[in-house]
Symmetry: C2
Subunit: 333 residues, 2 copies
DNA sequence: TTGTATGCGTTATCAG
DNA sequence: CTGATAACGCATACAA
């Protein structure tokens, strides 16, 4: 049974209020009383009850990053950046993994949520202040911070074109019949059209989700066709990693026979061999903006939702051809 | 300002207690009253306040997985297993990323912690019921669930010996002068000695931590020596992935010139090319045991700490030689 | 500068 | 079966 403010107050011979003042670092407490209280706190090993404090103040001081997939390449870097940004604003960050099916049924005990999933928020989470992470623009129902995926798809494709690829395939996640197609695919189509290249049938694949295995399957499907592509644009690093593995297992050399580029700038891609070229988001920017937007929404729940577009840069590594490698090609906003 | 039990009670023309009974699914409520209350709950969009509930009951229904490194290969699989095990016991799981330096200063708002770090618990976390994940045996100060790392090191080394490797190097994390050496290294040394092979100087490297970059650096240091090893035993998949990259960058073929094996059984290793051989823990077992131990400790805080040894199996994949590949070699307990 | 009293939203105790 | 009322631990008007 934990010690409470009252226990400390009794031992230190002061009132509850004074102990509260000392614990919360309030001024206007005499040095002598403060010393007595601190001694009592130490002696009893007092720790404030977070739930009581939150109930009273209405603030828990915690934000949640809600993810439907914990094994996502790049999640580590994003989490680090978000935790840092939150800490600088006086908040702690916890990760809340939710099942795809029972999506976010109960809200985590936090002041607000960052959603890294395109799932519907669910009855629990959507009552909380909420910022979505990922592709912008969104549907305007919530604040959203992410890179311009259409631009990312265009830039990735342009990079492949510039390094000599001519039969470029693309892999994105989501239902096959989605309309409009997802932004990376639109950017890809735009770049291919601008270059005056023909659209090859079956060269656009839709994976079930952004998992390595989905990318592997999608890439196999394309590589099984008689008209091999010479490059893959993948809408995420997870898909790209799966696609690279499919290429190896098919006996193809990367990038000589098949170039691969992803989107995300994940750490894991850096540790593939060959290292994965990728359109990297500025995670520091995203983290700062996402936390700032979320805190703003907590303060003003009724403000109009805004989209924040984060800068991106193309990281040209060994999985794509090109004389400029290794290096960063500045593109995007 | 959210709606409370009182608002619902007022609208439904019943007492606060009755609403509470309905919300918590208690029996002894007439169907008619129940219907009225449920209608009011829906109309007002009532959601129970978790903090008030926790304050009152003393139980939050949440467990925390405390990690010092979020970019760990295998963390995804472990998290999934733990979240599942917790859910089956009626608990939710959140991940609490902590900085290595300001380790776990504040306790997360949960009923207990699973610690996936060897850092000292810190003043906040160590007051909570706590189970450590990782190598067993531990120091006896806390419950601990993990595989037998000494056996894992022995089995990994034996596998390399059985597939023809004769100059085997080892990489583990931690300070160079730690005594006793970490268990994987001890198992490695034991297997090498048993095989009657000489100890090659400089073939045991200590990395700063279990990060890919640490494995990369350590492997480079070994490969820079005139007496190349023909295999690496790595104490984690993160180290092994870094070591594999170092081998490639040195122009070596895996496994022909250099075999590599890790410990952990991470998903990420599966998606390396060649796929990483690894000593895989039974994450389902670990998750079930860890959650069970933690709940037991919550119920009886003063019970003596116990160590639980989880089964492990050697996954022989393409990063090690051998005719039996691909396949699982049953070893361990 | 410090103490007293009240309420945050919930559940539990006890009457009716 | 239902209703009034007291706690849970903390922070804060307000009083002293």
């Amino acid at each position: 049974m934990p010690t409470t403010l009252r226990d400390v107050a009794r031992l230190a011979q002061v009132s509850v209020k004074t102990v509260s003042n000392v614990v919360n670092g309030r001024p206007h407490v005499s040095a002598e009383v403060r010393g007595r209280v601190e001694a009592a706190v130490d002696a009893l090993g007092y720790r404030p009850n977070r739930f009581a404090r939150t109930l009273r103040t209405g603030r828990s001081g915690a934000l949640a990053l809600v993810v439907s997939e914990v094994d996502l390449p790049g999640l580590g870097g994003l989490t680090r950046a978000l935790a840092g940004a939150a800490a600088r604003r006086g908040y702690r960050l916890v990760i809340d993994p939710v099942d795809a099916d029972r999506a976010a049924g109960h809200p985590p005990p936090v002041d607000g949520c960052l959603l890294l999933t395109d799932l519907p928020a669910g009855p629990g989470v959507d009552a909380l202040p909420l910022v979505r992470l990922g592709r912008v623009p969104g549907d305007g129902t919530a604040d959203r911070v992410g890179i311009d995926h259409l631009g990312a798809g265009r830039d990735a494709t342009a990079h492949l074109l510039a390094t000599g690829c001519r039969r470029i395939a693309a892999i994105d996640a989501g239902p096959d019949d989605a309309a409009p197609p997802p932004p990376v695919l639109r950017g890809y189509a735009e770049a291919v059209r601008t270059a005056g290249l023909p659209r090859l049938p079956g060269h656009v694949q839709r994976a079930a989700a952004h998992r390595r295995a989905d990318g592997y399957r999608a890439a196999r499907a394309v590589l099984a066709r008689p008209d091999h592509p010479d490059a893959f644009v993948c809408a995420s690093d997870a898909l790209a990693i799966g696609a690279m593995c499919a290429a190896f297992d098919a006996g193809l050399r990367v990038p000589e026979d098949l170039a691969v580029i992803g989107v995300g700038g994940s750490e894991e891609g850096h540790w593939m061999r060959p290292a994965l070229s990728t359109v990297a988001a500025d995670t520091g920017f995203i983290a700062r903006q996402a936390v700032a937007r979320l805190l703003a929404r907590i303060a003003r729940p009724d403000a109009a939702p805004v989209d924040v577009v984060a800068p991106h840069a193309l990281l040209s590594r060994a999985s794509t051809r090109g004389a400029d490698r290794p290096g960063t090609v500045r593109v995007g906003c």
